[in-house]
């Protein structure tokens, strides 16, 4: 049964009519047309769908819409709307990516971790990226960019 939900995405408020168990991912991609957030596994294991909810990184593929009513969501489109986010600049400098499909989720996860605690080390972050997978093997370049990002913050 369709219910009404209210959520704020990248600072913009939306009223959504949806079944309560619809994963946030499909609302973002298909209703709000924010396609930077990707489907990867549907089970919260690969991290491609990561977005930030009230400061916390969540897997949008297994987060039902009922659980985020009135919450603030930040997606990849939101972090660069006033220009490129410094972490994105560094990823471009390092050419950190091959196919690029996993990157949006990884960027959101790293942003959530470092916004919360800028003193984290790159090893801490590598550990916390346990549920963000990259198949092309861009991990080294991504971590090099993250390290520079952390150096810039401290």
């Amino acid at each position: 049964m369709a219910n009404k939900y209210s959520l704020t995405v990248n600072g913009q408020k939306h009223e959504i009519e949806s079944d309560p168990d619809t994963p946030l991912l499909y609302i973002l991609r298909n209703d709000l047309k924010l396609k930077g957030t990707k489907f990867g596994c549907g089970g919260g294991v690969c991290g491609a769908c990561t977005v930030i909810m009230d400061g916390l990184a969540i897997f949008s593929c297994d987060t039902p819409i009922w659980s985020i009513d009135d919450k603030k969501i930040e997606t990849i489109e939101g972090i660069s709307k006033d220009g490129i986010h410094p972490l994105q600049e560094l990823l471009i400098d390092e050419q950190a990516g091959q196919c690029g499909y996993c990157l949006s989720g990884i960027i959101m996860k790293v942003k959530a971790i470092t916004d919360d605690d800028p003193t984290k080390s790159v090893d801490d972050i590598a550990n916390e990226l346990d549920r963000n997978l990259c198949r092309c093997g861009s991990q080294l370049r991504i971590l090099n960019a993250v390290k520079k990002y952390l150096d810039g913050k401290s």
């Binding site: 298909n30 294991v45 994105q88 050419q95 990516g97 091959q98 690029g100 499909y101 949006s104 861009s138």
Partner: protein, 699 residues
Amino acid sequence: MNMFPGSFDSAPNIANWFTINKDGTVRMVSGKVEIGQGINTAFVQIAAEELDIDPDRIEISAGNTKDGLDGGCTAGSQSMQTEGISVRKAASAARMLMLSKASELLQSDVRELNVIDGEIYLNDNPTNLSYWSIAKDIDFNQPVEIYMEPKLPAQRKLAGKSIKRIDLKNKILGTHEFVHDIELDGMLHARVVRPPSVSSRIIKIDIDKINTLKNLKKLVVNGSFIAVIAEREEDAVKLVQQVNKYCKWSTPNKIIEDPLQFIRDTKSPIINSLDKGKIDVLRSDGISTEVSRKFLCHASIGPCCAVAQWKGNTLEVYTHSQAVFAMKRTLASIFNIDENDVDVMHKHGSGCYGHNGADDVVLDAVLVAKELNGTPVRLVWSREDELSWSPLAPGMVTKIDANLADNLMIESFDISIKSPPHVKRPSGENGEYLLAAEHMSNPLNPPNPVDTPLDKGGAADRNSMPLYDIPNIRIQKQIVYDLPWRTSAMRGLGAFVNVYAIETLMDDIASMQEIDPIEFRLKHLSDPRIIELIERVRDISKWTDRISGLPKGFAFSRYKNSGAYCAMVVEINVDEDIELINAWAVIDAGEVVNADGVKNQIEGGIIQATSCTLIEEVNFDGEIISATDWENYPIIKFKQTPQIQVELIDRPEEPFLGVGEAAHGPTAAAISNALFTAMNIRIKQLPITRERIISSLNI
């Protein structure tokens, strides 16, 4: 050898490749597609070099059957070696044609002209001419062959420079449109309802019950191909399980307990790949190895996806296939329509490491769209589809018997390779090897594919020919066609296991003779290019402390014996698990176009190959593939990332050599050799897991 490789046969004219626009931009077409490897960037760089323009002026279109070039399949690390050369020739011809026109207008000799970012100069003085002003008066429908005049190495300015990937910025910003992100007017969503295993077929389906399911727009039943269509994507996802409750499938009748043993015991005919010199039976002082690898998944992060739309009898498809023209021919053949009525457009997908389900999902989507009278449909595979219904990389067994001469040099290698097929790509006829083609009500039964002969690069036997000076070599292969699982090309094909076999055996022989493994190899090498490569990696890795410090291992190969050369040293830590700490790779890829692009491919190759070497294996429960999600098909994680140093030996006078698959075999063998250094044990079955190490220690 074809002088004009890649797309050239079908695109002999300059106009086939380049359009020079008056607004200062250039449209370029290529026949190879971007699959995460950065090929479009390299092509733009080659073209900008020859045209003397800023790369930013070039917009590249690749993999579009409407107005694109047929460069064949983007595979086998061939794009630079074939299409790259064609791009260079075509761009140089475009430049020369425009300069001939300018020389007419300026009444000067073409040799007095030069170009700076499209502006034409006469004896280094500006003129009022530019590409952008004169192009409209030039007929570019002229043969590349007449005008081509590629720059000499010393004249190149952009060569070897690391310009940034043209597509990566938008991928990092989240604004790049992948095939998954395409949205057409009125588009519906579909998912496939899968049987429990590969040979299961539908016995009974309760369509009346299914038609009562909420949010089901339409059920598609075509033999054992069953799919659901919904207006909302999440409903299509949900409906898959609901529909499957009303489906009864047959159970497989063939149970294979141990697939690798089945491969080992094959009675398939022996194919002689190479017979050089004389092979004696293995003598008592000889040495033998038999290595094997289990089946692997492609395991892309984004599952396969296609968008399809029928407009009457014409068909349009968006896909991340490696071979859009082959798909076009294949679809025309399956649906018995004119090839001109099918268009296949490439869009970027998630990482592609070979022949995954990208082609299969196209037929899925097209079969579904066929039921929709013109409404477009997007079909995305589930994670389970992606891991267990994409073609797998085949399990494989390679055995080598080596005899030694009196001087302890290698006298002979007798190599035997047993493997299911590595190449089952649709090429245009009968929908061969597409998943849904096996499930449709009139299933297609294509013949067994022929394994590519070794002199064409090989498939199961790829890289089985050692580059060491060994006077007697025999290579035989047997292709195992009677396993139920679908297998096809994954990065390196047979090279991964064959390099593992050769390079671990080289260490085993060196150890038996108590010789340093690099020294032992150098005794068997005379090619100065290979010797320089190996000596360089020995130096940068500080090989001499390989036993006192963290254990090191070495390996070498030249991909396909015709692509890039790769010599590698790795350093591992052996604790509860094996961890790759450092890798040093020296690469000779001939002329380097984009140095960072080559390094990116090698780094990624090392990390992916480490995952394949230490972690990955598909297991089977009867016929059922165990790999259904990331929990039961884990891959490497961020915390396991090694440090990697890649050095390139740039040879501007030499041809381009493909690098995409160069690192895989050497990574696996070097890790195994490092473990041998550390613990004097040889793990012969990949992946090298903790359990296999413990069982080989007999503790």
